[in-house]
Point group: C2
Chain length 332, copies 2
């Protein structure tokens, strides 16, 4: 049978209160008593029951993370980094995967907020803030990760790629490119919108023609890159900017398969990506925009714990910036 705190108390000849205080260091206990308690614990092989404890205290020591795609290394790394921070503070991480599906996100929000976790990290795939918000109990600790809604209501950590994308386009223009295409992720995401906005702004400022057909969006999943690239190639692009990591990650291989050499046949390709080692070796063929993924996860972890600690602390919206590594410059 399960050994409980009363068993320990009985064997040690003390009260359950003393046992509890001993293991939690929550009030003074004499050395002798402590010794007897620990002795009894060892003898019985007692482990405090986590679920009784969290039921009693209301703290679950667990954070939920709703992610659009665990198998995407971008999120895998964010998770890793957040988990790192959380586990160091004695917290666990529950993962829910939405596969960029709004209904799945909805279900998970409901489940996780029903007393399962103390707080939530959300990289939302929702198309509107209202939809997300309506599913969150009032006052529930939440930190938005990577994807934001600019609502000022919840703290958030995200990455701005506006400037590096803008610069990359300018640089392409400066090298004489005119038909610069862009491949985006899911159109409804804040990240996609921001990136396309940067592209448009730069195209306009550089005096390049803004054609709708040069903007092509995928679904932020792995397989959606090739068709997007094909479309842009058909439309006679002389440069392509791939602004979603997973889609970027297959681009070079795909182009090579079609015998298109970056920097020569297609002159230049830019990426928004995390720091995947694989592309370091192509540093002289493409512009790269490296997002601070680990930082993103770490701050997400920090922020959610801060929210738990100080629920009334002001909302913070952290925007990290990507590193721009123009073609030819080796990475750090």
């Amino acid at each position: 049978m399960k050994v409980t705190i009363s068993d320990v108390a009985r064997l040690a000849g003390v009260s359950t209160a003393t046992v509890s205080h001993t293991i939690n260091s929550t009030r003074y206990v004499s050395e002798e008593t402590k010794a007897r308690v620990y002795q009894a614990i060892r003898q019985l092989g007692y482990t405090p029951d986590a679920s009784a404890r969290s039921f009693r205290t209301g703290k679950k020591q667990t954070i939920g993370f709703i992610v659009p795609d665990i198998s995407n290394k971008f999120f895998g790394t964010i998770i890793e980094s957040a988990e790192n921070h959380l586990s160091a503070q004695g917290y666990h991480l529950i993962i829910a995967n939405t596969k960029e599906n709004m209904e799945r996100e909805e279900t998970n929000l409901r489940l996780l907020t029903a007393g399962l976790v103390d707080g939530l990290l959300v990289a939302s795939t929702m198309d509107s803030f209202a939809r997300l918000e309506s599913l969150l109990p009032a006052g529930f600790p939440v930190v938005l990760v990577d994807r934001t809604f600019g609502s000022q209501k919840y703290s958030s950590v995200s990455v701005s790629n506006f400037q590096p994308i803008y610069r990359s386009v300018c640089r392409l223009a400066g090298r004489g490119k005119r038909r610069i295409g862009i491949v985006g992720g899911l159109p409804r995401l804040s990240t996609t919108k921001e990136r396309i906005a940067a592209y448009r702004a730069a195209m306009a400022d550089c005096g390049l023609p803004q054609e709708e057909e040069l903007v092509v969006c995928g679904d932020s999943m792995e397989n959606s890159a090739p068709p997007c690239l094909d479309r842009l190639l058909e439309r006679g692009c002389d440069a392509i900017l791939v602004c979603q990591g997973l889609m970027a990650s297959v681009t070079i291989a795909y182009l090579r398969g079609k015998n298109i050499r970056p920097r020569r046949d297609l002159e230049l390709v830019s990426f928004v990506d995390y720091d995947t080692r694989a592309y370091e070796f192509y540093y002289d063929q493409v512009d790269r925009i490296i997002q601070p993924v680990e930082e993103l996860g770490k701050i997400a972890g920090e922020q959610i714990l801060l929210r738990l600690e100080k629920p009334d602390a002001p909302v913070v919206e952290r925007v990290l910036t990507s590193e721009y590594r123009p073609c030819g410059e080796e990475g750090a």
Copy 2:
């Protein structure tokens, strides 16, 4: 304040028992009563408290997964696939990351088995079965994933790469290669051992010299491939087999950076990998060994639930097989 089952009972004019039975469909409740209960629930915005519930019932509806490296797409995909199955059955997934560190695995095993989860999936980084076993409470539901110990004590799901590796080596030998090198992952892992064993068996059977210096191991992490490759190249290999996914994933890019063209300068490289789209485009340059990653995760999820349901069911050790795609053959 929090709204509880008593609040609902009071408003509906019934007992807490009836409310409980209503929401759980656990005994007959008349239609009228049901209606009143649901009405009250809606009116108060009641959500049953998951932690009270799991405390009371002893079921957490949660599975823990101890992984060596979340940011590795191989495990990311396994997690995704397992989560898929589990969430469909109403279970949550807690992730713990060990970074191939045995102490971290130890800590996590202790934490997770202390009443946090109903069962555990473990892709262990331990060097011995004894060490793992000593940390598991007797009778705790566990399924070993990807890495096994051949102990017959716990169910397991893994992939055998023996045959494809053996064949790949034979094929290299058949094409006249003699100095075939192999890059392995962490030497203590069952997966690494099996793969190297397959390589050695094939080398011997093909009458090729077995030199210790042709076997080089990394740490199963991303950055460890380049130094391994360098060493094999220095030692004059005319073919290389990279038998760990993450390490394989940077290999082509790395070699290309050194101006070494697979199939031409280095004649042939083989990979053990999951089905990363990126390498599909190199199908005519390398042998590939594709592990059924999704299947692995799915079966892991099935098996652990089966263990929960029937704790006394016989231990099953499922061994999946990889698909061998010799150079030149396009993938499915």
